[in-house]
Symmetry: C2
Subunit: 323 residues, 2 copies
């Protein structure tokens, strides 16, 4: 007899956006004449820019002509886009990121929900409080969060890092050691940014305790201060501990178009590609360019998942032993 | 110290498309002058049809104008598309499917990989052999398949239903009772179809043993015989046991555009919506039209995940008790 995933039964307590929708509906019913500004979800307020519209039309025309149409995209996303990301979002800021470390996806939300799958079922997560609920909810579904206490609105097996007026909305290192640390900077919903020096402390902390930082940079376009990093990879040491999630929703007004990307540096990239090969969008074969890059490694021959996992284990040992 | 998902380490043995790519590369190197017809992956061979290209241009223009642009799509997909699916793919074939039972997605592959997440971690799956590898691989990643035996190329905890010349490539009911049965009809890779009467036997079997059929109808466009069902919902009883995955890749030559849908009837729909709310694409709130539909149920008020899960439990009890 089939049974559903029992973890889903634990979800209701935390469903923030359902509660917001309920409150909005109740208020609107009582005050039908009052205009509402919705801050709950960052949706678009302006049409997409002409340059993008033009590029989209060109892309559609490509698909309609025998000389230029194409089917499945490469697993990691089109090379021209990954190249543009590397040049403009990373090299221009002094970050050494290569094209095969960029994983284009159908949006940062999907990635932020799916990324936890790469890690062990008993991983302990740390989140800022308050925080974008997808980080916690996706871990609830995966069974990592323990039990929910409706009085405290906390999960028994999640490490919460309070961000309050008292600490200027800046999270502090948790007492208990996490395996995965979710950092969203600039932060949704508090608007907090960290200076590059402050962020470097988190990188050092993660390397010291052997944690992975899942760095959600979806709001990077709002950074206006010189000393705030646009990417966690601007901090030395991030390449051994950080995965960065990026979106075009904010800088390109792209919400709903579904385009984002994740950056995972070489020592980490194996795990993300496994996900790419199995449960993400795209074709089912390893892209030639990625395999070619990996063939420079001692193992030689075609890239196999075994190699990726072996790389990961090596990376883990290195982090564990050396730092 | 973080650890990766240990199930990923089990994957290499079954990576079919990697093996195919290796063999293709080896052959091509030895025979550079020989043309190759690749049957491994069903990619496009023709540009997208003019009517679709025109619709895509119109959609792009909508996004570029202040009067018509829009952001996040409704969770279940645009109403106009779901309506067209209901009218043309279901009502026209006598299937009673309503719009809120259609879940538009970024392609049938994503759905076929993700759908297993809805079910308990100890679910036992049954697959045809040979079969599209995503069904098994996604369950490997979820830890359901036991250990891999490279000699037999079988997983210890998967029920295989051989499809060979001896049985005319038609699977037989397995001796051991499965919780989830993957059926792909017309079949990839054997091309097998079942008559409606044969398919009805599978529906009856699933209802009898309390299993869910995950019915992959991606190749439905190739059906030419009168007595072959285009949808499992043409069979009485399917609504209590079947989830149907559909694609536009074949009937619209759409491969790579990423558009598909899943049909889950009301007694089952809760589980799929949970996935939609948490880890699939789309906005984070429940769509108003879906909530409205659910409000007709005794529970009243806003749809909650609790209601969905309760519905599921009710459905399970009903199936268990009544059949």
């Amino acid at each position: 007899m089939f049974q559903i995933n029992e973890n889903y039964q634990k979800l209701p307590g935390s469903y923030l956006f359902s509660a917001i929708a309920k409150k909005v509906a109740a208020y609107s019913e009582k005050n039908p004449d009052k205009p509402l500004i919705r801050l709950g979800i960052g949706d678009v307020t302006q049409p997409i820019a002409p340059a993008i519209i033009e590029a989209m039309h060109k892309a559609v025309d490509e698909m309609g002509q025998a000389e230029t149409f194409h089917g499945y995209a490469p697993d990691l996303g089109y090379a021209f886009l990954r190249k543009a990301i590397v040049e403009n979002d990373y090299k221009a800021r002094g970050c050494e990121i290569s094209e095969d470390e960029i994983f284009v996806s159908d949006g940062a939300k999907s990635d932020s929900a799916n990324i936890q799958e790469l890690f062990s079922a008993d991983s302990k997560i740390a989140v800022c409080d308050p925080v974008y609920p997808v980080y916690v909810d996706s871990n609830v579904m995966a069974g990592r969060t323990g039990t929910y206490n409706p009085d405290t609105e906390r999960w028994s097996n999640v490490i919460y890092m309070p961000c309050t007026a008292e600490n200027h909305f800046v999270p502090e290192f948790p007492e208990e050691t996490p395996d995965l640390i979710y950092l969203c900077l600039p932060n949704n919903p508090t608007g907090t940014t960290l200076t590059k020096a402050q962020l470097k402390e988190w990188v050092d902390y993660a390397n010291r305790v052997g944690a992975v930082i899942i760095y959600d940079g979806a709001y990077e376009a709002y950074i206006s201060q010189e000393d705030v990093a646009h990417s966690i990879y601007e901090c030395d040491g991030a390449k051994t501990c950080a995965i960065e999630l990026k979106s075009f929703s904010k800088n390109a007004g792209f919400t709903g178009v579904r385009l984002g990307y994740t950056v995972v540096l070489l020592v980490m990239s194996g795990i993300r590609e496994v996900l790419g090969a199995g449960t993400f969008n795209g074709a089912e074969v390893f892209p030639a360019e990625y395999a070619a890059g990996m063939m420079a490694l001692p193992v030689g021959g075609f890239l196999t998942l075994g190699v990726l996992i072996a790389l990961m284990q090596w990376a883990q040992t290195k982090v564990k032993g050396g730092k």
